[in-house]
Amino acid sequence: MRRWFRWVAFLDVREVGTSIALVRLLVATCVLRTLGSVWWSGVYGAAWADSAHGGWRQHLDSDPLWRLLGGFDTTTRDGLAIAAVVSAALLALGVGGEIVARLIALVCLQSFMALGDLNGHAAGSYDSLITNGLWLLVLAGPSRTLSVECRRATGAWTSERTVMRWPRFLIVVQAVVMYGTTGWQKLSDHWVPGGDLGALWYIEQQPTWQLHDMRWMAPLYPLTQAATLLTWLWEVTSPVWLIAWLAEAEPTSVGGFAGWLRRLRARDVYLVLGVVFHSLVAVTMQIGPFSWASMALYPAFIHPREWARIKSGRVR
């Protein structure tokens, strides 16, 4: 019972809303970027339409919203696309107070999910990552600071008004769950220690995800092997990142392993490795907005009190 009450108390903490506001800005930007690329490339009419309307799928998939709306038609699809774009823009700007901001995030989530779910063959894990992020923003009510709402309510763009910390905790858990479980499933002989550690070399050779022919990397093969091992370890051990985050979130109550992680600045090490990893993926592979959607969650790893220090160049 004592553990339960500690858990309840942990979830009852409040803090300034800077980190969650930055997640809001980045996730909403990801939605806009994703929808924009679908539109400008011409994929909109090919992937998100059935064969009677220019697409290739004879029968589109449908989520609960499509069933509620009576099934696919292009007018409804276009309406949902407009709703997704407008709500993502409003979400990025931080329009609306506690209830309206949540409703905007919910509209963005439902419309984006309905579009992405239309064609499961032309979807990626980034769709799930974005919708997970949007749902956590619905729960968070993320417009307290760095928002039009903040400007309206206080006359300034930033505010020290507090928000609940638990949405930030859930975003951190979501990122760790994603990295951890993807790592635990990398059981290929090319990934695991004891194999040839050729996974990243061979993945970079797959035409499906290449941006360019990557055979030029052959002389750098030992580096790709080291990167394979580092990536695998980083993902498999990512629950340590969560412990390190908790150690930073509540520095006065940590000791033992968590305290050791704090002294090692393990949270920051994982964070920097994540940025490096996603940046390298972004410049060598075409896997859609996955890297950006992942890094959109990263501000949640930073405590709001740290932003002022980061801004002034004092990391700790």
């Binding site: 309840v8 979830l11 690329s37 063959h121 032309a122 769950v177 994603m178 059981l187 050779q205 499906t208």
Partner: protein, 218 residues
């Protein structure tokens, strides 16, 4: 019950929901026809060899049958645990599908599309080519890459033919002199670093060839 307690219970339920859905599971491997793919075969052989190193010696058939049995049992338990949360995932977009790059595809397939035009086959589109670039903005988009990747697998055979038909319909309009569209995959073994450094070319074969009569579509 006070609101903080209720909230903590709801947050706990959310964490359980995402945890059970994300837990590693062989979702993509539950189609045994996929096990004939050379990439999958190589992984199975590697793990059978590893088991042999610790004293578990099995024939390929024994190993695969036991693995299939274990996977089927695991998935039935997993499905029973996940099922109560399905509505939550569906309504809130909290599906957890993080089976990403679990194994590099050693035998990838490259989509190649040509048309028979003015008495000869002319290249139209080839994945990652800088010369055969028909509708490249669409085919190079990550969503189309994902679809094309799926269609190179045997279990998507029917959907692949539907996709080829769609390409034919576009080509019938955009290439009015073409008679036939031919779509196929070139499957090859990716080069090892040593082979790439030596300048070796890809060695592979065409498969899943589909021809679409464009004259019938006009």
């Amino acid at each position: 019950m006070a609101w903080p307690q209720v909230r903590a219970a709801l947050i706990t339920a959310h964490l359980i929901a995402i945890g059970v859905c994300a837990f590693p599971a062989p979702v993509g491997g539950m189609n045994r026809s996929s096990w004939h793919d050379p990439t999958v075969r190589a992984e199975l052989d590697a793990w059978r060899a590893r088991l042999g190193m610790v004293g578990v010696h099995q024939t390929p058939k024994q190993f695969e049958d036991e693995l299939w049995g274990a996977m089927t049992s695991f998935m039935s338990v997993r499905d029973a645990i996940v099922r109560p949360f399905n509505h939550y995932y569906e309504l809130t977009g909290t599906w957890q599908s993080w089976r990403m790059f679990v194994a590099p595809q050693r035998y990838p397939a490259r989509l190649i599309v040509d048309v028979f035009e003015d008495g000869e086959w002319r290249p139209l589109f080839e994945e990652r080519s800088d010369t055969a670039t028909w509708n490249r903005a669409i085919f190079d988009h990550d969503r189309l890459r994902a679809a094309i990747f799926r269609y190179s697998w045997p279990k998507f055979g029917r959907e692949w033919r539907v996709f080829a038909q769609w390409m034919g319909e576009r080509a019938a309009v955009e290439r009015p002199r073409a008679d036939t569209l031919r779509a196929r995959f070139f499957r090859y073994r990716t080069l090892s670093p040593t082979e790439a450094a030596a300048g070796m070319e890809f060695d592979g074969k065409f498969e899943h060839e589909v021809e679409i009569d464009l004259t019938a579509l006009r």
